[in-house]
């Protein structure tokens, strides 16, 4: 009746047109007139230290000019000052109690096993069994544990063009209409780890097997060739989830220091001490029907007298990733089309290979520089396509190199800072008018003494073992007597109370009992002295629950802030209980930042002067929004610095 009337049709058309026009007006008015055309570039230089900068301004002319033109100040970091925690605060504008990330590693209270705090990959539920295979009928998914709304989503909702490149703790990338993102730290390799190298060696004196961050695999040359079996993902299409492998044949020349590598129809020739370009590798899931694939780089360390070949972690191929690494999905494909393949794993500098003496220092630095150079091309691509709005880029090289070089190889570390400085100069030149912020999530200090926190808890009576003569050196607390354990540690700064109804074998009642345990822990931690030199070990102890009532079960009960020079041991991070209380750190990992936050502030450099006398990471979140006329959301706690 309504639409059949000829008189009503023009009226209907007019109403629709009016509605469309008013909606367009609403959309364009989301961006305040003063914010249109605005440009902000934020460079997140992970681990850049203010004291190191202050010592080397003369060698860093672009950043020196930036601080003279605008300003330079320390940027307060999070408790604990770990990258996933700090970046999550920067992203959401909330403290750890708000976004839920407290450490790199947390424990599952139901199993007490360590897991990544950033997220996990889960397989689909329903499947169809066919012979040895189990074909999924529903998709698996990647779950992120970070709570809160990322700032770029808020910007995009207000029609501000935004691109975030290599953003930490953004795996899988947050789905966001109108924004572009590429995931960074936290992105796994194809096997779902943070990156595990493979080291193939003919040297029978080498210790073989799994090592932290990699695998050392024996190889034999027979009939002039060696077979490298490159580990791929577990085959989720098989009932037994058998490991997949890609095969690579190596033909070392009998005399010359060079070798031919063949895999999947590709052939390359490498000299000794040479890196290959990216090579595609396929892992059969169902032979001839379905493969998983990734990309690797090879380093031919030695041909004679023993063949030694390093194969990088299997990275997701940005041209067609098997897991989502960008939003929209097509963005990583566009990057790969333009730049060629590049490192997609979140932490590509192979510090593990250096720590295990697979790389020497020069080899590590060469790999690290190569990673940095490659990923800076992503920044250039972003800049080339940047017209207005916000562009963010995360650079990891300073952090990873600082861990390996701090306090001993300052000249080498300065080269990394110089690379950043040249990048800052390039960005300033290309971006033209606009605000440039160069910031870091935390600084650095030495790591000289390695604290076995669970051993301390054992000594103080908070933790008990089934067999006191056996130390606990297995992941999962195999030897721990939970019926007498009140607290334990896992991760780099976290202590958990063995709370009833929360922990798998909890004994401490919540409420008064738990508070008493926490009080005792705090007092004794602050009184903790290094038996070797009498120095205090712990500067501060923070209880997240004091300031926030609704914490998740995975949140720690206490966060330990060490004095510089001290850090939780690697064994503590996985929940082990070694015999020694504190040991010298003899690892190549010689610098760290998992201490009390006041000792490792980050950096704020900008081409504008701020009004803030002191600034925190979460202030930058609010700043980025307010510069585009967006008022601070209720969950965010900072203030704009401008």
């Amino acid at each position: 009746m309504w639409v059949s009337s000829q008189l009503n049709r023009p009226l209907l058309t007019g109403v629709c047109l009016l509605a469309a026009l008013s909606q367009m007006a609403c959309r364009s008015s989301k961006v305040k007139s003063g914010a249109r055309g605005k440009r902000i570039v934020v460079l997140g230089i992970d681990g850049m230290d203010p004291e190191f900068l202050e010592k080397h301004w003369a060698d860093l002319p672009n950043m020196d000019r930036l601080r003279r033109q605008g300003e330079f100040k320390r940027l307060a970091t999070t408790m604990p000052p770990q990258s996933p925690v700090a970046w999550s605060t920067f992203i959401t504008g909330m403290k750890p109690a708000g976004h839920g990330i407290f450490d790199f590693v947390e424990r599952d209270p139901k199993t007490l096993l360590p897991r990544s705090s950033m997220g996990e990959i889960t397989s689909g539920g329903i499947s169809l069994p066919i012979g040895p295979y189990s074909l999924p009928l529903s998709h698996g998914h990647v779950e992120t544990y970070t709570k809160g709304t990322p700032f770029w989503k808020i910007l995009a909702a207000h029609d501000v063009p935004v691109t975030v490149l290599r953003m930490p703790t953004n795996f899988p990338p947050v789905e966001c209409e109108g924004c572009t993102s590429l995931s960074g730290m936290g992105t796994p390799d194809l096997r779902g780890t943070f990156g595990e190298f493979s080291w193939y060696t003919e040297d029978s004196n080498r210790v073989l097997g799994n090592v932290p961050g990699g695998n050392i695999i024996p190889v034999k040359i027979e009939n002039g060739q060696a077979l490298l079996r490159i580990r791929g993902p577990d085959n989720s299409l098989r009932k037994d989830h058998a490991q997949t492998f890609a095969e690579m044949h190596v033909y070392p020349d009998p005399v010359n220091p060079a070798a031919v590598f063949e895999t999947g129809g590709q052939r390359i020739v490498l000299n000794e001490r040479e890196w290959s370009p990216w090579i595609r590798v396929n892992f059969p899931l169902i032979p001839r029907l379905q493969n998983a694939h990734g990309i690797v780089r090879i380093y031919l360390k030695q041909v004679h007298p023993c063949l030694e070949v390093y194969v990088s972690p299997v990275n997701l191929d940005p041209a067609e990733p098997d897991l989502p690494i960008s939003s929209p999905d097509s963005y990583s494909h566009a990057l790969a089309e333009s730049l060629g393949p590049f490192y997609t794993q979140g932490m590509p500098q192979d510090t593990a290979a250096y720590r295990e003496h697979v790389f020497n220092k020069e080899e590590y630095l060469a790999q690290s520089r190569e990673v940095s150079t490659e990923l800076l091309k992503v920044l250039r691509y972003g800049l080339n396509h940047f017209r207005e709005g916000l562009l963010f880029f995360h650079f990891f090289g300073v952090d990873q190199d600082s861990h390996m070089l701090w306090g001993k190889y300052d000249d080498d570390l300065l080269e990394t800072y110089k690379l950043v400085d040249r990048t800052v100069g390039m960005v300033q030149k290309r971006m033209g008018e606009g605000t440039l912020i160069v910031m870091s999530d935390h600084g650095f200090t030495t790591f000289k003494r390695s604290v076995n926190l669970n051993t301390w808890l054992l000594g103080q009576g908070f933790l008990a073992l089934n067999d006191a003569n056996e130390s606990q050196s297995e992941v999962g607390f195999q030897n721990v007597d939970w019926s007498r354990t009140k607290a334990y540690s896992i991760g780099l700064n976290a202590v958990y109370v063995n709370q009833r109804d929360r922990e798998r074998y909890g004994i401490v009642a919540p409420g008064v009992d738990k508070k008493a345990v926490l009080r005792a822990l705090r007092e004794q931690l602050l009184a903790f002295r290094d038996p070797e030199n009498g120095k205090p070990v712990v500067a501060s102890v923070f209880a997240p629950e004091e300031n926030q009532t609704a914490l998740s079960d995975s949140a720690p009960d206490l966060i330990v802030g060490y004095y510089p020079g001290y850090r939780s041991s690697w064994q503590t991070a996985l929940g082990e209980v070694p015999r020694e209380l504190i040991a010298d750190n003899t690892d190549e990992w010689r610098g760290d930042h998992c201490v009390a936050p006041q000792f490792v502030p980050g950096v704020l450099l900008s081409n504008r002067k701020s009004k803030a006398s002191d600034a925190h990471l979460y202030d930058l979140t609010v700043t980025m929004l307010s510069e585009f006329g967006i008022s601070k959301p209720g969950a965010m706690i900072g203030e704009s610095i401008y």
């Binding site: 009939n223 002039g224 005399v255 031919v260």
Partner: protein, 248 residues
């Protein structure tokens, strides 16, 4: 791209004319009409299974007859087509070595062991750099080098053995040209690699340069020459079959 289009059109036209000449057009036309009739039967008598079944059986046998009639022109066409493609592939399929990009030179030997004592030396023409020593791949009797073009070049690559020298043409730069990807020794392999004279008898079976593949862009699509030629020729056949009164 214009060359490929012209080639595709010429090919399509040749196929049509050859088909008209060497095939039994009358029988093919008759078979097609009968097959169409069967298809109509299937459509019209869908509720009469016996009729449908008979029509399906007849359709199968008519198809066999049709394939039999098409076999002769297909075989006659196949041989010159294969030869034509093997001639066109070195020009359209591959590009000269790109400047600053690495490539491989591979030599296949009848017997590797002799070479294990003294590896051959690769001598490129000016503009091409050898980046690795010879890598002798035992078990598969191959020798490989990695090379890199530093500037446009065209000339002879020399593989110098203690007992003699073998040459291979090589080219780099952006100008398309007729390329010889592999220089072979055996006559039957010459059919696939016809653009260079055969190697003299000896231990070297072939010498190969890994030229990059060439792709042609048009209307936002980047495809190999073969796909474009096929597309243009098929389009030509479909457009011109009626005016030229060719049935297939």
């Amino acid at each position: 791209m214009a060359g490929l289009a012209a080639l595709g059109i010429a090919l399509g036209l040749s196929v049509l004319l050859l088909l008209r000449k060497v095939s039994n057009q009358q029988s093919i036309g008759s078979l097609r009409r009968q097959m169409q009739a069967c298809l109509y039967e299937l459509r019209l008598f869908v509720d009469e299974p016996a009729v449908v079944w008979r029509a399906q059986k007849r359709l199968l046998s008519l198809n066999a007859g049709y394939l039999g009639l098409m076999l002769r022109p297909a075989l006659i066409l196949a041989i010159p087509m294969l030869f034509l493609f093997s001639l066109l592939q070195p020009f359209f399929g591959k590009a000269p070595l790109a400047i600053s990009e690495a490539s491989l030179v591979t030599v296949k030997l009848a017997h590797l062991p002799g070479v294990l004592r003294a590896p051959p030396i690769l001598q490129p023409p000016p503009g091409i750099q050898v980046e690795t020593p010879a890598v002798r791949m035992r078990g598969v009797d191959l020798i490989c080098w990695r090379i890199r073009a530093r500037k446009p070049a065209a000339g002879l690559l020399r593989v110098v053995f203690p007992t003699g020298t073998v040459t291979k043409t090589i080219a780099s730069g952006s100008e398309p040209r007729l390329l010889s990807t592999r220089r072979v020794q055996s006559w039957w392999q010459l059919f696939w690699y016809p653009t260079e004279s055969p190697l003299p008898a000896g231990n070297v079976e072939w010498v190969e340069i890994d030229y990059p593949s060439r792709a042609f862009s048009w209307l936002g699509l980047k495809l190999s020459w073969f796909v474009w030629v096929l597309t243009f020729s098929m389009a030509t056949v479909l457009i011109l079959k009626r005016p030229l009164r060719v049935v297939f």
